[in-house]
């Protein structure tokens, strides 16, 4: 049960995927504080249905970010007037996001160049 299932059902190394999900969530939360449901919606929107994060994997991932101290949870009233748990980035989380995005750039850059090489 991988945490992120790509539509084409290609299996990937678990830690790579895990790191990616963390990065995605951190990035989404960096834009604005959201509750779980909204995160799930936003994830579908931004990844354009290519990455489908199951709701069952989303919550443990959010809780993990919280327990690592990267995001902070607050109970606020949602748009529909109901109390919801909003996640927002902490200072630690911003630092984590920066380092993870840098990592991702390096990694994807490397992979891209490899892929391009093979096309020649």
């Amino acid at each position: 049960m991988s945490l992120v299932t790509e539509t084409k059902n290609v299996s990937k190394p678990a830690d790579f995927v895990q790191g990616t999900l963390d990065l995605l969530l951190l990035k989404i939360l960096a834009l604005e504080p959201l509750h779980g449901w909204a995160v799930s919606q936003r994830l579908t929107q931004v990844s354009g249905n290519i990455l489908q994060v199951s709701d069952g994997s989303l919550y443990p991932a959010l809780h993990k970010l919280e327990q690592e101290g990267w995001v902070r949870a607050e109970w606020k009233t949602s748009d529909l007037g109901r109390r919801a748990k909003f996640y927002s980035l902490t200072r630690l989380g911003r630092r984590q996001l920066a380092s993870e995005s840098a990592n991702w750039e390096r990694l994807s850059g490397a992979i891209t160049s490899v892929v391009k090489l093979s096309e020649v």
Binding site: G36, D55, Y59, P60, G69, K85, L92
Partner: protein, 888 residues
């Protein structure tokens, strides 16, 4: 960076643990919110409410699993599980209080017994001087020669002090008993003659005044000063703050009080509490053997050495041996064959540590036995109960509980049992910690001080015992639970115990262990009991029933030697005129008492032996007719008379062993012997007897007239009258001569000998108590397994009754089952006992470790106990209603 992370993380972890309920609520609410929105959206997409609900839940995998995964993220899972397990375990214990109480009681006895013994070992052997900061580096030091261990002489002590590089400081110490007089009041008191550095070396600071100056140990009788104990200050001087500078009399000599030791400092003699300390220069006042600070042959110091940090006792021992060899070279006349030995504190040979070591060692083994037996009992109880819980376990397994979680749960329950029992054990240890004081001999003027220490080391060790015992008794049932075959267990709800009939051997093995361990204890207790009896009934070479021993304390009353002599003559005359008293005699020390005999290196005129080889031999200073009074037969010559006084020729009576060793068995009467540099003539030969201990082997020994050496206050009376009558008569006779005097306690020599065998009796008492507990535990174990088996085979027994078995058949069936177990246990235990009782050797007196009578009695007791354990289940079996049993 790391610190900042902790700032975020720690409050979260704490919240997960301590606000568990709130965190769970929030999790529920968060997921509920998500579901709600998802359902709303699904409906908007055109699904029916039911479909929407289902699809939403589907997307969250299973709600419970998501929750579990979220909980896993909190990273306090282990702790959380433990708390849950503990809570559950508590509920389980409360549900079956009978089981819980029995299990906790069994374990309490086991853990309590081991904790008590630990606390004794810690307080008596390992760290006996709590106020001494560096006691880990403290070792005992004595000399040793061909005749065995001896004390150190002052000149040797000074040479060691001078030449050692590995020892930080040496302390001289000698326990002395004296008459302490304050004003008109006088009483016996125990204290110590010490080197002047005593208090500084131990790091003990006085609460009042000062301790000794280095000069205080120099000069014959030059420094009559004393430091008194806190207890003495409180008791005798009512805590007088102006005590410094006041004087008190020790053996009639005025000493100035210069300091008061702090509370809790009892000196350095394991077993007794010192009431005062005096510097070495005053030794002569306390020991009539003369001034010894310049005498290399006079060995009297019971010393301690404080090793430098990092120095091992082996390294220090090498250095001591080297110095001793040099001393041997330099002073062959006194030091030939002498070496210096270091002992760790717990092996200190000259105080209570050394005497208690074998007893405590045996107690430790026995306490561990009791612990094992208790663990086996609880293990069996848990096995029985795990049968009752088999259904629960099966259900939990089939609902998807991981086996290792079940195992953890069961071990947690066991740990909780052990912890509760551990608390009980501490209570037991706390109440029993002074029990050993009751076993230590008491003398007038002596304060017994055997502190059991319950410190963090004892606590840690006992906590370790709790954990180990948990594993011992908890693991077997837990592992059995791990083996549940789900399919099998679901199929049949009745059937045998956990794991089926095949596992019955585990329970039987546990009972067998119990029976065999308690059998070993029974045998050991029996052997010791017999040995103590043998000691009491033994013939030490003098009359134990017809001789009474007592003393008259004349020195305390301020008598000078002249007055003592005339008083003694007058008293003996009066006594001998009394009907029923045959003879009476004074001596310095009566045999087999706590006081030691004098000793001297001796020389024999016209001996073929080398001149410089002068053996040290013990001797007694005794009055006229002493041998007749003690009932020691005279082989040849005569014994002392009143004519052997200070003006007559100096004489001696030697024993048979001495005749064999020095005069090659020829009658030495008329020969000469040099004692303490004084030539004396041998006038008689006395039969060998025991002198200091019943356990000693034949040794050379001689007697000199009391009049020709020193004063004596020990009185022996030969009579067939009971001690009580003689005591009254003696008191009247003493008072008639001097109303200020009173005789000490009058007891038979048999009683005296009996009192001196206290360490053996202490071992017997401890072993009997622990052995009794072990027997009771084993009987409970046996009872448990037999009544369990009876309850399990109700149907079979019912069938037998229906087929015509009568009560006696059933009785035979059940008792024979019990006896088979007991017999197997006794065979194993018997073999173990044959091997183990040799360890008792030191304490056994004229009893073979394989004494058949003792083994037979142990078998009888064990059989009786097992019969008792069988009776109730058998009675229950006989009352089975066959119709009822078969219907079920």
């Amino acid at each position: 960076m790391r610190l900042e992370r902790w700032l975020y993380v720690v409050p979260l972890r704490l919240r997960s643990i301590f606000r568990y309920g709130r965190v769970e609520e929030e999790l529920d609410e968060e997921l509920a919110f998500h579901l709600e929105r998802q359902v709303a959206e699904n409906i908007a997409r055109g699904l029916t409410p039911e479909q929407a609900q289902h699809a939403a839940r589907q997307a969250l995998h299973s709600l419970e699993r998501t929750k579990e995964e979220c909980r896993d993220m909190r990273k306090v899972r282990l702790l959380e599980d433990l708390m849950k397990d503990l809570y559950y375990a508590l509920r389980m214990l409360r549900r079956s209080p009978g089981f819980s109480i029995l299990a906790i009681l069994c374990l309490t006895l086991g853990i309590g017994a081991t904790t008590v013994v630990f606390s004794w070992m810690e307080g008596i052997l390992l760290r006996p001087f709590p106020l001494v900061a560096a006691q880990d580096r403290l070792v005992a030091i004595t000399s040793e020669d061909r005749n065995g261990r001896d004390d150190l002489s002052w000149p040797d002590f000074l040479d060691l002090r001078e030449n050692s590089t590995l020892v930080e400081v040496f302390i001289a110490d000698r326990i002395v008993s004296t008459t302490l007089s304050i004003g008109a009041r006088s009483e016996r008191a125990t204290g110590s003659v010490v080197s002047a550095n005593y208090f500084q070396a131990l790091g003990i600071h006085p609460i009042l005044g000062r301790t000794f100056d280095p000069s205080d140990e120099i000069g014959r009788n030059a420094h009559p000063v004393t430091v008194i104990s806190y207890q003495a200050w409180k008791d005798r001087y009512a805590g007088d703050v102006n005590i410094i500078g006041k004087t008190q009399l020790f053996n009639g000599v005025k000493h100035t009080i210069i300091g008061v030791a702090p509370p809790g400092f009892h000196g350095t003699f394991v077993g007794y509490s010192f009431q005062f300390w005096v510097p070495a220069s005053m030794d002569e006042v306390f020991d009539a053997g003369g001034y010894k600070l310049e005498n290399r042959a006079a060995r009297w110091i019971e010393g301690f050495a404080l090793l430098k940090p990092g120095v091992t006792i082996q390294q220090a021992q090498l250095e001591m041996s080297a110095i001793a060899r040099r001393l041997e070279n330099d002073y062959p006349a006194t030091n030939r064959g002498m070496t210096v030995k270091l002992y760790p504190l717990w092996q200190t040979p000259f105080n209570g540590a050394g005497t208690l070591l074998p007893t405590l060692r045996i107690s430790l083994v026995v306490a561990c036995f009791v612990l094992f037996i208790a663990c086996a009992n609880v293990g069996n109880l848990l096995l029985f109960r795990s049968f009752a819980r088999r259904h629960e376990m099966t259900v939990r397994l089939s609902l998807g509980a991981a086996r290792h979680r079940l195992l953890k749960q069961l071990l947690t329950e066991s740990l909780l049992l052990a912890l509760l029992a551990g608390c009980g054990g501490f209570a037991v240890a706390y109440w029993c910690r002074n029990l050993i004081m009751l076993l230590f001999p008491r003398y007038p003027g002596v304060i017994v001080n055997l502190p059991a220490a319950i410190d963090w080391r004892v606590l840690a060790l006992s906590a370790g015992v709790c954990v180990i015992s948990t594993l011992l008794f908890g693991l077997i049932p837990a592992l059995q639970a791990g083996k549940i075959d789900l399919a099998d267990a679901m199929k049949s709800d009745s059937g045998g115990a956990l794991g089926g009939r095949g596992k019955a051997w585990v329970r039987s093995a546990l009972v067998l262990v119990q029976v065999s361990l308690s059998f070993v204890l029974l045998v050991a207790a029996g052997l010791l009991l017999k040995s103590v009896r043998a000691m009491r009934d033994s013939n030490p070479g003098f009359s134990v029933d017809q001789t009474l021993t007592t003393s008259v304390d004349m020195i305390a009353a301020g008598y000078n030697p002249e007055r003592i002599r005339s008083f003694e003559d007058a008293l003996l005359d009066r006594l001998q005129r009394m009907a029923g008293i045959q003879t009476a005699a004074f001596a310095r020390v009566n045999p087999i008492s706590y006081k030691s005999f004098s000793s001297s290196k001796i020389d024999i005129a016209r001996s073929e032996r080398q001149k410089e080889e002068q053996p040290v031999i013990e001797y007694a200073e005794v009055g006229p007719a002493y041998l007749a009074t003690l009932g020691i037969p005279l082989i040849s010559g005569r014994e002392f008379t009143r004519a052997d006084n200070e003006n007559a020729r100096f004489v001696a009576v030697v024993n048979q062993t001495m005749v064999r060793q020095f005069w090659a068995g020829k009658d030495p009467v008329g020969q000469r012997l040099q004692v303490k540099g004084q030539w004396v003539q041998v006038v008689g030969v006395a039969q060998d007897s025991k002198y200091s201990s019943l356990l000693e082997t034949a040794k050379p020994f001689f007697y000199v007239p009391l009049r020709q050496s020193i004063m004596g206050q020990a009185l022996a009376i030969r009579t067939s009258l009971p001690p009580g009558i003689v005591a009254r008569a003696l008191t009247r006779a003493v008072k008639a001569l001097d109303a200020n005097l009173a005789p000490g306690e009058v007891i038979t020599m048999r009683e005296q000998v009996y009192r001196m065998s206290w360490s053996e009796r202490a071992a017997v008492t401890l072993l009997m108590i622990l052995g009794g507990i072990a027997l009771a535990l084993a009987a409970i174990g046996l009872y448990g397994i037999i009544s369990y088996n009876v309850s399990q085979s109700t149907r079979e027994l019912g069938l037998r009754i229906a087929l015509g078995a009568d009560a006696s058949d059933l009785m035979r069936l059940i008792v024979s089952y019990g006896f088979a177990l007991t017999a197997a246990g006794m065979i194993v235990g018997g073999i173990a006992a044959l091997g183990l009782t040799r360890l008792l050797g030191y304490l056994l007196y004229q009893v073979s470790p394989r004494d058949p009578l003792t083994f037979a009695s142990a078998i009888a007791i064990m059989a009786a106990a097992s019969l008792l354990a069988c009776l109730l289940p058998a009675w229950r079996a006989m009352r089975i209603d066959p119709v009822q049993a078969l219907r079920n």
